[in-house]
């Protein structure tokens, strides 16, 4: 399979363009900032419905991990009723291990996010927007608050934006540092001041969201795309990268590469291009062992599985993984996969909210067993038990954290089983069974 990213070597960055001090409002304005919003609010070019239509037409899919079509999500909002408040919320509770792209947007191009949120609010006729940022991003919270204040002062947010009759407030809310708050229904509970337990769906946020009012929640990067789509057009957007999931993508590359970082390129990049060229190749000239393409919860791919695999939902699905957040973990030949899995299971054990039985109890059990294997005390039958426990967790909880905890275990074991067996205690009984002739 070939790259779907076209001439990516000459790609011009739009989300994180190479402009010095772009986070400053004056610099942002000099580079066309808030033009899309001005056009929407002060000219006849965009009415609310056509903004949604344009986003729908662009083919933008959510960048928070699930990849749901953004425009379609916006149409789930019920018709406007002046007596019923409605909200949008920007999910900046970026907590998946291996994912750090939203932080870059907030640091280098915060006004693009604000502009996207106001445009989304305009499209869905919303007066209040929340920006929920994880507590650990303390520096970026103060940074965003400072920039938001400037946007307020300049009338890009607040009452009668740019002299139009559209008003919207943005409220920055600081999380307290829990992975589960990135789950949208948990996030809403947390925002309301409740314990961040995920809610049962349905009802979905568009029906009952924040304080049980209609709510749309999108990722930081998703909102950041919106002004670009309006100013450059849906056709421009959909022509970039993989047709099924077009547009620029922020690839967060970490691990054993020479130049880890966040890179903006079209969707549908070859994994091999991203490693060898974008990230400068493997560190120390070592050989690639495995790639986790979309944050720690997606299935790991062996080095021999990534030939011709592109970074888009379909390409990764066919390869046996998922796009997730496009936060790629690159592991070299020296990586101990058991130890790697141990760290991942520890994370999900630590972050399970404890609401549902299978996840609360299962995540800890998984970590216990993987730790035992990693310390050389495990038995080969533990591997089957691990797979069994994954089956007992997957799809049986309110939210997807149990799945996110079970997938890495299931796939790391099935794809690197010999490494796990090698770390287990040797069996006292010969396990090699001749297939008997029937």
């Amino acid at each position: 399979m070939a790259s779907k990213a076209g001439d990516w070597r000459n790609y011009k960055r739009v989300l994180l363009p190479p402009v010095k001090d772009l986070h400053r409002l004056d610099v942002y304005e000099d580079h066309g900032g808030y033009d899309a919003l001005r056009q929407a609010l002060t000219t006849d070019k965009w009415d609310p419905a056509s903004v949604t239509d344009e986003v729908k037409k662009s083919g933008l899919r959510g960048r928070g991990g699930a990849g749901f079509p953004t425009g379609l999500k916006w149409t789930f909002m019920p018709p406007v009723n002046p007596d019923v408040p409605r909200f949008i919320c920007c999910n900046a509770d970026e907590s998946e291990p291996g994912t750090f792209k939203d932080r870059q947007v907030m640091e280098y191009n915060p006004h693009l996010v604000f502009e996207g949120m106001v445009l989304a609010g305009y499209a869905m006729t919303i007066k209040t927007a929340y920006l929920y940022v994880r507590g650990e991003y303390a520096d970026w919270i103060t940074h965003m608050e400072r920039e938001l204040e400037k946007a307020y002062a300049k009338g890009y947010v607040g009452e009668n934006i740019m002299g139009s009759d559209f008003s919207m407030d943005i409220v920055i809310h600081k999380g307290a540092g829990a992975y589960i708050c990135g789950e949208e229904s948990s996030l809403m509970n947390s925002l309301e001041g409740r314990r961040a337990y995920p809610r049962i769906k349905p009802p979905f946020p568009a029906q009952k969201g924040i304080w049980n009012y209609p709510t749309t929640i999108n990722n930081v990067e998703t909102f950041a795309h919106v002004p670009l789509i309006l100013s450059k057009g849906a056709d421009w957007f959909s022509s970039i990268g993989a047709p099924s999931s077009p547009g620029p993508v922020l690839y967060g590359i970490s691990g054993h590469v020479n130049r880890p970082g966040v890179y903006e390129y079209p969707s549908g990049m070859l994994i091999s291009d991203l490693i060898d060229e974008v990230a400068g190749g493997m560190r120390g000239g070592k050989k690639l062992k495995a790639v986790v393409p979309g944050g720690s919860s997606v299935p790991v791919l062996r080095a021999d599985m990534i030939d011709g695999v592109t970074m888009d939902p379909e390409g990764l699905r066919d390869a046996g993984s998922m796009l997730g957040t496009a936060g790629m973990l690159i592991l070299d030949q020296d990586t101990d996969m058991v130890s790697f899995l141990r760290r991942i299971t520890h994370f999900y054990h630590h972050e399970s909210c404890g609401q549902c039985t299978p996840c609360r109890e299962g995540t800890g059990w998984l970590e216990n067993i993987v730790t035992r294997i990693d310390e050389g005390e495990g038995n080969v039958k533990d591997l089957d038990l691990l797979i069994d426990l994954c089956s007992q967790m997957e799809g049986r909880t309110v939210c997807a954290l149990a799945d996110a905890a079970a997938w890495p275990v299931r796939h790391t074991i099935t794809r690197f089983r010999e490494e796990f067996e090698a770390k287990c205690r040797p069996s006292l009984v010969a396990t090699h069974v001749e297939s008997a002739a029937v």
Binding site: A178, R195, Y197, I200, H349, H350, E351, S352, C353, G354, Q355, C356, T357, P358, R360, E361, G362, T363, G364, W365, N368, I369, R372, L385, Q392, G395, R396, T397, V398
Partner: protein, 578 residues
Amino acid sequence: MPKITIDNRIVEVEDGDTLLQSCLDEDLEIPHFCYHPAMSAPANCRQCLVEVGMPRVDRETRERVLDEDGNPVIDFMPKLQTSCSMKVADGMVVRSHRTSELVKRAQKDNLEFLLINHPLDCPICDQAGHCPLQNQTYKYGPEGSRFEFRKVMKPKNIELGPRVVLDGERCINCTRCTRFTQEISGSHQLTIIERGVRNYPMTPPGVVFDEPYSMNVIDICPVGALTSKDHRFKARIWEMSQTPSISTTNAKGSNCVYHVKDNLVMNVTARTNMDVNEFWLADEDRLDYRKFNENRPEGPAIGGQAADWDAAYAEAARLLQSTSGQRVFFLGSALSTTEDNYLLARLAEHLGADAPAYIPHIEAGHGDNWLRTDDRAPNTQGCERLGFSALDAEVLKSRLAGGDIDVLYVMEDDPVGEGLCELADLEGVKVIVHHHHTTNETLPAAAVAIPAAMAVETVGTFVNCDGHAQRLRPAKAIKGVNRTLAMEVGKSRADLHGTPFDRWYTESNMVDCEPGWVSIPAIAERVGLSLSYKGPRAIMAELSEDNPAFTGATYDAMGESGVRLDVTHQPDTHTQTA
């Protein structure tokens, strides 16, 4: 009403009900922990998973798609669904553990998870024997455990408040207790703290779990995480005989179960009655049981000297006949049954005395519009409906002072202790007292003292503040041999004869007393009035025929949940809930 198919059985269900409740209503058990009919369903225990399918509907015609045989095509949902959070819909097809291996497996898996960090200290756990986790594990759980690690350690023996003790390790995080304080009592005194497998319920900083309904969380806790500070480690559930009855601490008449071992009341728990107390019971109703065990009298007395029953009855009869009826003052009691008060009224009438009065037990400000009332007596309504009037302290005092009273007949109350008169006021008055306790302050003045059975030892009827007539059932035996009581004990207990661990037949802890419907007829007979009824059942049958204020209140009609009496006869008194 929607029709749904559960395990190949078609049942009609209530629109808007949850699937779990519909199954329970049909007596189809689905294991569950977090669901409680009175509270929201968080679907967090994940035990009630079932397979759910809906008929396929044609997108164009909106009609159900049929297969070749003309049966609707059912599309099952890809994941198992929690039946507690799923609303029923017409045509829904459900497969539970009875018909689905998948569901069976899921329930087993879930119980395995629930048990890995559960301490399994059932041998020393108060919940063992009536523990949903234990019962459902036996029924649906795995046979062993594959968990070979150290269990999670959590705080134990934590006093959340003055009455409830937490064992964090036993907790399965169903959140029933926190939801009770949020949705039912509204005190918000409990919340879940920590995260993941370290979760457990706790009070917020600086808050004590001391609301007057705190002990309900012990009843609804599906494990032994929340136990009663008062009752814990005192008796195993299977050592106590359980008798459904009603509580006596206030006029609400909340339904409860008395747990009795060796004729001592050990514990009181809530009993569901949707017309009275729903699922709940106030803490005061649960803790006010020692009065049934302690300071109880031993046999009758004449002039402070122990006497036998015959002599006491004869002496009472002699005193009653020693003066004219007009100079005998009868005090009925809001603490005794309607039947006993009725018999007393008949006796008073026979002697030509005024109708009895009763002592009101009002504690202003105690009521809370829920299960506690200002009235601290259980049967004020019963007295009022019999035409008794509340006793005015001034009236009694002036009549005593004026020498109008030769004989004061007190049934199961304490005019001196209640402050209606002084012992000195009773000098020269012949006092006959039916008393519950040796601490009764009228006793020193008693010419004849007749020990009376309490609410847990007798058969009778209380009418609550809302006019709800309910039956009392004998939970413990008394020394007096009585066929009616013995039969009623046998019929009332949940397991008919009581548990073999309860040695109710031994004399220890039996009180030498008699119910009013035995002692009053015995005295009446000696003054020439025949009050021979075949027990309180017959008395109430007569009352429900003759007195419109009690129409319909027969024992059969009252059953376990009582009868709401005609409101037009509801006297407008201060006995109403505050």
